[in-house]
Amino acid sequence: MAEEHIILQNVHKEFQRKDHTPTIALDDVSLTIKKGEFISLLGPSGCGKSTLLNIVAGLEKETSGKLLVNDKPIKGPGNDRIVVFQESGLFPWLSVLDNVMYGLLIKKVPKQEAQKRALDWLQKVHLGKFAHALPHELSGGMKQRVAIARALVTDPEILLMDEPFAALDEQTRMVLHMELDKLWRETGKTIIFVTHNIREAVVLSDRIVLMKTRPGGIKSIFPVQAARPRNSSDSILIHLENRILTELEQEMEKVLKEELGSDYALKTNDLRVDPSNNMGSDI
């Protein structure tokens, strides 16, 4: 289990803005992910967590740095690393079953077997009854289940999840957390999970990578040592949640100060401004 699966070494990513000034999305990120590890990338918007995921997925290219999966460099997207996005991205013209079979047919699995495996997976995500439904007939949570089945049916080594539950309501999300946890324990996949929800990260992950903004990068890494299946009211988890929140607040404040002006204070100044200051002069 201790085998190194994904290695990022000094990964650097810059975007060119319209006015040709580069924006640093990721600055010098180094991270090693073990085989079968569930790792969360957590951070405020703009910290480059999705960019990092897309680079591992091969959908974006790093500006410099080294990126190894199974000791081999990544060349573009591949079906050993499948992404589940925030929106399910199901093909509306295909039935649920055909959607799940899509990746299998690309891998040249015979149609009969593809159908059998797809049905198996639909049953695992409790959607066996909806195999012949069309995507628009499903609810948001059901669509996301199909998207997970569609990714896992092809048996990828790595599952990359880009805020997969962010658009769902709280109850559905909790159910899907438990199901994802179960699927992960059964299949032993390596999962990289991008989220901005601390509780989600704490409940699901082995390690949480807290990211920082401007430039984007890794701020700190928290291992989560609690037994599974986890309960979000576990005192270890709540304690950890608070620790992460404290660090995250500093990041948030930095972002808000940049966006709203330097006199903005989220917590440290308790919103009280020095009376000697001319209020609002520096907005």
């Binding site: 997925a57 091969g58 959908l59 997207p77 591949g78 079906n79 690393r81 499948i82 992404v83 996005f85 929106e87 991205g89 093909f91 509306p92 013209w93 899509y102 990746g103 690309i106 891998k107 069309l134 995507p135 628009h136 007939e137 569609r150 990714a151 092809t154 990359l160």
Partner: protein, 231 residues
């Protein structure tokens, strides 16, 4: 001013209905309708092929979009019958120039609608497909093209109406048989009953193809895609 519709002015005189029925029974109107439709289908088919290819190239290559895309939009602003004199000089009075007008009219419209459709493919679907290993033609066939189908059908529906207009206008000016030429004949022998019969046929065929082919396909597709949930 108007020819009698059903009841003739003098015993045994002309009426629109009689001319229409006689024309259909003795085959004169049917034959003309047939040749107009064949031109329509040939021209429309070629226009679809050209339009899709140009539309795809405009979507795929920015340089083509910047050059040809602008050119196509400018050409589209010229009513296609304006090309008829030129077509007659190039292809002579006959089928060739009529089909040329049809292709020109429909292909430009399809080029514009299909390039817009290709440009509006949701990037998410392309990312999903490529993360599962789809590339090149497979990606085009299974995702890019499929996801544009509702818009492509709307585009074809628009283009078909333009093509039908172009056939008749072309035949009216360029001769060579068909309903348009027969209309011109009706004018020269002052047979208003014939002109009205042909106008009825033109209207019936137009709405028949629109309602029984395009509207049905469009409804089916929109319902399947989940865009249309009523009916």
């Amino acid at each position: 001013m108007w020819p009698p519709l059903i009841i003739p002015n003098d015993p045994g005189g002309v009426t629109v209905v009689k001319t229409l029925i006689n024309g259909i029974v003795d085959g004169q109107l049917l034959e003309a309708t047939g040749s107009s439709l064949i031109r329509l289908f040939i021209g429309f088919f070629i226009a679809v092929v050209i339009g899709f290819i140009l539309g795809f190239l405009i979507y795929k290559y920015k340089i083509i979009d910047d050059t040809l895309g602008f050119f196509v939009t400018s050409l589209q602003a010229i009513p296609n019958i304006v090309w008829m004199p030129l077509a007659i000089l190039w292809f002579g009075l006959g089928v060739g120039s009529v089909i040329f007008i049809v292709i020109l009219g429909a292909a430009l419209s399809i080029t514009i609608t299909s390039s817009t459709a290709f440009k509006s493919v949701p990037p998410l679907l392309i990312r999903v497909a490529s993360t599962m290993g789809s590339t090149g033609f497979h990606l085009f066939r299974t995702v890019i093209f499929k996801s544009t189908i509702p818009q492509q059908i709307a585009g074809l529906r628009l283009a078909w109406a333009l093509a039908w207009r172009a056939v008749l206008a072309g035949e009216l000016l360029g001769g060579s048989g068909g309903l348009g030429t027969l209309l011109d004949l009706g004018r020269s022998i002052q047979a208003m009953d014939l002109i009205f019969s042909i106008m009825i046929i033109i209207g019936v065929i137009g709405s028949f193809i629109d309602n029984f082919i395009f509207v049905r396909i469009e409804r089916y597709v929109l319902r399947k895609w989940g865009i249309l949930t009523t009916h």
